[in-house]
């Protein structure tokens, strides 16, 4: 008898023999299938220089997106016309207004963080490209939905590694709701606060949180100006769209100040890596170029400023071309950017869809991040159905947390 076998192992061994006779395993891949996995590995990319941040990498594309919209006008002018007319044309085009914005993140994986989702916001006041770029004025959001999933693997930075979260929310002037599923909390946080395992368990399969009219729309999603919840960035005059999911959890036996997160065990997750800067960034950018960009977007750029922007675009993108997809609809493709290790790939491409008489309708940034993901920004007048998602989760039977009701109950219990 084999000396390694003990009773339970012997039984397991016998059962495995039975399983081996009856269970069909997946096939091994064929040589052809194996060959199909192996794309040509990318050429060795230079390591990023010290101090390069993720925001800096996005900046490389950010102003190019805006500039490409302007430069596309130059390409569209009849031959022989001076480029200064692009600014004049754009000045009239900046009158084109949209009531809403939709941003879609598809398979965006950067530094071990995978992000999928979309935001759809409709504004009380119409927005324009110029107002988006103007950090000083914020457009009031009338209704918005946000559906974002984030997963950080163990190659992500330690504070967020292990996080697996899904947030689906809808906000209107009448009320707000939020579905939260916490598949896993960051490993480091959980190790430091094991009690948060209870929270993870509670939200493990998802909870629908009815916020009623407690939430100020402006505090949840704001486009243009300073983002919610964080320090005002007085120096950034660009467009910053931040996806912020704040999940505040508190221990039942919280005794100290609600602001003292270290004692209450509360956790706030701010999805900072999702900050997508469509405009300027204080990191590594010259003031002069920032001024040029602002002037161009405001429609009062000089001939020299436009020339400077064209030069920047040509320097950043190795290849720029325009195709006319149908009468009046032109798409500008900019590619051949300088690739780095994390965000910009050799085949990354910016696509700007521009319709005569309407303006820029859509911007796509393709093949970015380590999974060749995509960011799409659409300017749209579509209405936002902020309650459809709530109905979906209700029908799915997820537990509902009625926060206004709980607060009323708590207030009632507290009465003498």
């Amino acid at each position: 008898m084999n000396r390694h076998l003990q009773d339970d192992d012997q039984t397991f061994d016998q059962n495995l023999r039975l399983i081996g006779r009856h269970l069909q395993l997946p096939p091994l891949p064929s040589d052809a299938q194996r060959s199909a996995w192996y794309r040509e590995p990318a050429e060795a990319r230079p390591q990023p220089t010290k101090g390069v941040t993720m925001r800096s990498r996005f900046w490389k594309i950010g102003p190019v997106i805006a500039a490409a919209a302007i430069i596309s006008l130059a390409f569209l002018l009849p031959a022989g016309q001076p480029r200064v007319e692009a600014a004049t044309i754009f000045k009239s085009l900046r009158q084109t207004e949209w009531h809403g914005l939709r941003m879609i993140l598809d398979n965006l994986v950067v530094e071990g963080i995978a992000i999928d989702g979309q935001i759809h916001a409709r504004f009380g006041e119409p927005i324009t490209l110029a107002s988006l770029a103007d950090g000083g004025s914020a457009s009031a959001v009338e209704a918005a939905t946000m559906d974002v999933s984030i997963a950080a693997d163990d190659t992500a930075e330690p504070e967020i590694a292990g996080l697996d979260i899904e947030v689906d929310s809808g906000l209107t002037v009448d009320g707000a709701w939020m579905f939260v599923r916490i598949g896993a909390m960051p490993s480091k946080l959980l190790a430091a606060h094991p009690e948060l395992g209870l929270v993870q368990m509670m939200f493990g399969k998802g909870v629908l949180i009815d916020l009623g009219d407690m939430v100020n729309l402006g505090s949840m999603l704001q486009v243009g100006g300073d983002g919610p919840g964080g320090p005002a960035n007085a120096q950034s005059s660009g467009v910053t769209t931040e996806l912020v999911a704040k999940i505040a959890t508190e221990r039942n036996d919280r005794a100290s100040s609600p602001d003292d997160s270290s004692n209450t065990g509360s956790m706030s997750v701010r999805i900072d890596p999702v900050t997508i800067n469509l405009g300027t960034d204080e990191d590594g950018q010259s003031d002069e170029l920032q001024q040029v960009l602002e002037s161009v977007l405001a429609g009062n750029a000089s001939h020299e400023q436009l020339e400077r922007l064209v030069t920047e675009l040509e320097r950043e993108a190795g290849d720029v071309r325009i195709e006319t997809l149908e009468p009046g609809l032109h798409v500008l493709y900019a590619s051949g950017f300088d690739a780095d290790d994390e965000v910009i790939r050799p085949d990354s491409q910016v696509e700007i869809s521009y319709r005569e008489g309407t303006g820029v309708e859509r911007i796509d940034v393709t093949s970015i991040g380590s999974a060749a993901g995509r960011i799409t920004i659409e300017f749209t007048d579509d209405l936002v159905d902020a309650m459809a998602g709530r109905e979906k989760w209700q029908e799915a039977g997820v537990p509902v947390m009625d926060v206004p009701g709980l607060m009323k109950m708590g207030a009632g219990l507290a009465k003498p």
Binding site: D9, G20, L23, A114
Partner: protein, 189 residues
Amino acid sequence: MSGTAAPVPRTAAQLPENPVESAFGRFGDALYRYVFVRTGGNADLSADVMQQVWVQACGADLGRIVEDDRERWLRRVAKNVLITHWRTARRRPQSVPLVDVELAAALSNRLATEEIPPTLLTRKEVRDQLLLAITQLSTDDQQVIVGHYFSGHSHALLADELGLSVRAVEGRLYRARASLRAALLHLDG
């Protein structure tokens, strides 16, 4: 469907020097099985996932990861790719096995304490938990489990294939069985 072959072992001399190619050469077959089960047997999707893992591995500096940890790294990337896919798809086909924590734990206990009836294996949910657990094993553990129990290779034949002593094979099998029981308790869906 022929599924009983064990992953073909390759010696260090046969593996390419490029760390990504080397990792795929060594762990690719087991990784493919891991993915295949979790896509519900969708060969096209599995191939797509493998390609994405390959691309991410090329983009990362796999050489900085200790060789023994590379398989775990690849599995992690594959899992994230799958998670992303199912989020985007919003709906998993019924063929995709789902982790049933209670059933898997019960199986882990039952397989060690009593002889199971063959009829138990006619239940899809039981087969799913077993497939999830087996494909979750490391390449080395899968080699011996699949080789011995599914391909019917004796200890001596396995020893010959792997270049080990019979006693070493027995030890590996013992540890692989323990890993399989543990995998049932911590399934990776």
